[in-house]
Amino acid sequence: MTALLSVTDLSVAIGSKSLVKKVSFDVASGEVLSIVGESGSGKSMTAKALMGLLPHKASATGRAMFDGMDLLAPEVQPPRGTGIGLIFQEPMTALTPVLTIGLQLTEALVSHGICNAGEAQRRAIAMLDRVGIPSPADRMRQYPHELSGGMRQRVVIAMMMLLDPRILIADEPTTALDVTVQAQILDLLREIVTDTQIGLILITHDMGVVAEMADNVLVMKAGKAEEFGPVQRIFAAPEADYTTALLDAVPRIDASTSRKPALAEPLLKAGGINKTFAKRGAIFSKAARYKALDDVSLTMHRGETLALVGESGSGKTTLGRIIARLTEADTGTVTLNDTDLSALYGRELQDKRREVQMIFQDPYASLDPRHTVGRTIAEPMIIHQELSRSERSERVHELLEKVGLNADMAQRYPHEFSGGQRQRIAIARAIAAKPSLVVADEPTSALDVSIQAKVLDLLENLKRSEDLTLLFISHDLAVVRQIADRVAVMRNGRILELGPSAELFAEPRHPYTRALIDVAPVPDPTRKRGKRPVLQGDYPTGPLSEIGPGHWVAA
């Protein structure tokens, strides 16, 4: 098969700083090439160089032959849109908020002189229909904010496909989406490749997505191509050490688990929790509220890891915050060691807060940039304990070493640390107060896979050494499988299934749990599946009933 696009020795640099170093690859018609790598690997820069959309002051060298021209030659204007299309990661920001969907779909057709406005309108509606958007004619008059994330990503795909490109570059097109929506978008992209025989360059950090989608894989690290080859070979016999390490770091939803829930005494009981939030802009009307949590109850046992799993809007974060009493529940109680936290106020509450500490998702936002790391970690001790200054600083050093950093880093500021290191600092802060329960809200989802694996190990070790109970909130079933003793699956503010991790993954009893497990990409190219099932129709959301020892399902 002759290549549609043939890239040789592509390099990108800003001044003397090299971002991409001599990368070569080919993409053929009807083929999916995955460029995989962690943050800073240069995968997005590679795409931007091909589109001629590099940031100001960055320059590209090398050759990229497409349709008889070299895209990187200075006199060549890459055929944006008509030759190569580009889809970004974040569907929420990829469409201009102040313009209608219709205008954004048709403007390029008209501007390129492909057809007149009326014909463009007709083609746009047909394409929206093609990418699976219901009542497409109505959508044309809507604005981006009126569509969900998945729908917007379909609109962006339609927008690019309308121009009939030969190559489509998708830069992390599903990373910002929920797993069930991700599955649908990936299915759509695969269909488009089969039907139109375009070449798809799929940039991702997710080995599961690579395994399911790619024909060829380019593994990148720090701007260099580590290896390039067919997907089966890359997964079965990786040549580069980095590829092996990357594959080992990926948590697997199909891994075996020998975790047994600890049968210790209950530590925390949450009962009958309800929480509603006002919808935006609603000041006068009480009706415009939505239920974030709907009569949720759960019990946590000392020493266990309980995972709350769900998609966005499931209420998992709200539940975590209510347990840490960062958010007040409308009704319901949270009892920790027989003390009702929800009834405490003032001084008593502050004393009890020591018991429950939180780790947040984004380590870039959760550390005060103006405090040294030492001060950040010492703060809970200042509030909760009567340690002398020297004892505190000794304890800070001890904590830093415990989370795998050096004691002498206490004097530094957060911006001097990487994302993974920052999350370690946040963990040190959480355990500084000697809590009995730690609520970790998506603690690894902002991190690269190889870093994620290490942070998960750290949490696991600390749980044992510090005698912690862990409430682990995540959207990622593979991660949950690796770390959790018990799992609670949430959707729309309700727990649908709750059970021991091993049983829940082996025999999911609720249709939604099954769907979640089915759609999660598995990093194994030999298991390539057809179109995935979509969860349709009603499913039980009623009160939980016990169907096995400790295994509860909504009836």
Partner: protein, 307 residues
């Protein structure tokens, strides 16, 4: 959108109501007896006359009664009479308010006309010499006090060059005060426009528009400009209030016969009914402008219009 606007109108009404309370209390905020102070400089005022003025202003009654009286007159469109001259305050203000509004609008027009294109250009050429030069000028413009800029303009264009009249109330007389007020505000708009445009230009949707192969000019005009102007529109509302305030200074420099000049005279003469009327009118204008800006915002931003 209607809920959004009705909320804003309600808030505006509340603001004006609070102003009426403050305005009633204002007269008592001055230490000592207000009427005594009012007549401190005039010779030969008898205690009987002072008592008469006090009664006519209602100052001999308890404060809640004073407020009720004030509101009762207010709803009938009566702001009282001036102490010097005894004319109805409302007439005095209405006679001069158009002059101030014309000045503020002209200044706003100049500020936006100069500030927004400069900011846009600076954003487009971010980091270049053009950008740096324009922004240095903008900072200089913001730092320049009205009274100084006004006097400088007056000196060069009216005195030295003789192109424009020094003072008066014709259309030509409007040029210098409007420039004084407009130029320093243009600098604020330039800086805001620049940062807002840079923000928008880095958005994925601008990259996406470029990736569709749209010409750069079209992307700037259609995708960047409109989204980038939203904060500028908000700023226009805030700045209008400041311009009304700035008008007080500028009107006095150029002897422009607006409410600002009237207010300064009234303050010197301790003519409380005028001061009260002025503050009230001022707050009504500011609230009306704020509501207009909110409506404009809703037109520009579908996220507000269609919610």
């Amino acid at each position: 959108m209607w809920r959004f606007l009705s909320t804003r109108i309600l808030m505006g009404a509340l603001t004006i109501w609070i102003t009426t309370v403050l305005v009633t209390l204002l007269i008592h905020a001055v230490p000592g007896d207000p009427v005594q102070i009012m007549y401190a400089q005039s010779q030969g005022t008898t205690p009987e006359q002072i008592e008469e003025v006090r009664r006519s202003l209602g100052l001999d009654r308890p404060i809640p009664v004073q407020y009720a009286m004030f509101m009762e007159r207010l709803v009938q469109g009566d702001l009282g009479n001036t102490i010097r001259g005894g004319q109805p305050v409302l007439d005095v203000i209405m006679q001069r308010l158009p002059n101030t509004l014309v000045l503020a609008c002209a200044a706003m027009f100049i500020a936006v006309l100069i500030g927004v294109p400069i900011g846009f250009l600076a954003a487009y050429r971010k980091g270049s010499l053009t950008d740096i030069t324009l922004m240095i000028i903008a900072i200089a413009g913001i730092s320049m006090p009205h009274f100084w800029l006004g006097l400088m303009l007056l000196f060069y264009f009216a005195v030295e060059l003789g192109w424009l009249p020094v003072s008066g109330n014709g259309w030509l007389n409007l040029v210098l005060p409007a420039l004084t007020l407009g130029l320093s505000n243009a600098a604020i708009f330039a800086r805001l426009t620049r940062s807002s445009m840079i923000d928008v230009m880095n958005q994925d949707y601008v990259q996406t528009a470029l990736a569709k192969g749209l010409p750069k000019a079209l992307v700037l005009r259609r995708h960047v400009l409109r989204a980038g102007l939203l904060p500028v529109v908000t700023m226009m509302g805030l700045q209008f209030a400041f311009m009304m305030g700035g008008a007080i200074v500028v009107e006095n420099i150029f002897s422009w016969n607006g409410v600002g000049r009237m207010a300064v005279e009234a303050i010197f003469q301790r003519d409380y009914p005028i001061i009260q009327g002025f503050i009230l009118t001022f707050s009504v204008v500011v609230v009306l402008v704020a509501i207009t800006i909110d409506a404009l915002y809703a037109v520009l931003d579908p996220r507000i219009r269609r919610s």
